[in-house]
Symmetry: C2
Subunit: 137 residues, 2 copies
DNA sequence: CCTTGACTTGAAGTCAACTTCAACTTTTAT
DNA sequence: ATAAAAGTTGAAGTTGACTTCAAGTCAAGG
């Protein structure tokens, strides 16, 4: 596949694909300076990258998980920890979602004054500030 | 409360608090140029900001939801839409989490080669690339 | 009163993740 | 063969969210 086909199928701009390649997230075939060719599997990788980003991973973290490299096995504990982080995020996002839905339905003059909103958020928020520090590592 | 107390209680650095104040996310009391004083409610606001960030909202979006401003009612449809976005994110994060946990347990030589991992991610990824375009608005 | 240290400000610097630019080469169509 | 379209490169620019810096101010202790 050439770059335009990947752009069409993935919706990711060519500039981003080049950027991803330069930063070692995806690979292209053929000599350099000439038009890139991509294996179809690049679409899977791009989906994985998009997912990782959704999960709040940096490109650096994602790269370490893709590591097609020379046999270095990736750290399974890291993966499990990431999954734990994500699960915690999910719990809090659920609270945020409920809070937003309530706010959308609630007729209090200001959301800051709606006690239900406050309470929903407060319960969710309790851990958020704490997590703030421990995330990103 | 003075700024150091807020720093201690929230874990958020003073520079960030000043930055948040400058960008209108939180407010401080007293005249300018002299030491800031914060109402205790600032802690709730900070928690809310942290939560919003967890949910993937930009500070601009968060500000629009806090809007303590002059009576402009915030858009409830926007809130509901955000909640929908977040729910979609939650569904995909669940898949990511399952994928990561499987990868952590799986003994395939490379995760790219593990069919279960592939399948989990593929199902989660199907929407991820599409969502990529529509998010952030 | 004076020093010390925490606080203030605006401006500039940093980092991640891209995008845009300028100059140039490769393909494709005629 | 050649013009136009689409691709390539490295370098520089952009945006969001902060952090760091330089210079000055305020407040508490001795």
């Amino acid at each position: 596949m050439d770059i335009t086909e990947v752009v069409k199928l993935s919706g990711i701009p060519a500039s981003t694909l080049r950027y991803y390649e330069k930063s070692g997230l995806i690979a292209s075939l053929g000599p350099r300076g000439v038009r890139r060719r991509f294996a179809p599997s690049v679409l899977d990788q791009l989906a994985l990258i998009a997912l990782g980003q959704l999960a709040g991973l940096s490109l650096t973290e994602i790269r370490s998980m893709l590591s097609p490299g020379g046999g270095v096995t990736i750290d399974r504990t890291l993966l499990a920890n990431k999954a734990d982080d994500i699960d915690a995020t999910i719990r809090q996002l659920k609270a945020v979602s409920r809070g937003l839905r309530h706010a959308a339905a609630c007729s209090a003059p200001s959301h800051a004054e709606c006690p239900t909103f406050q309470e929903l958020l407060r319960s969710a928020a309790s851990g958020a500030l704490a997590r703030r520090k421990t995330l990103g590592g």
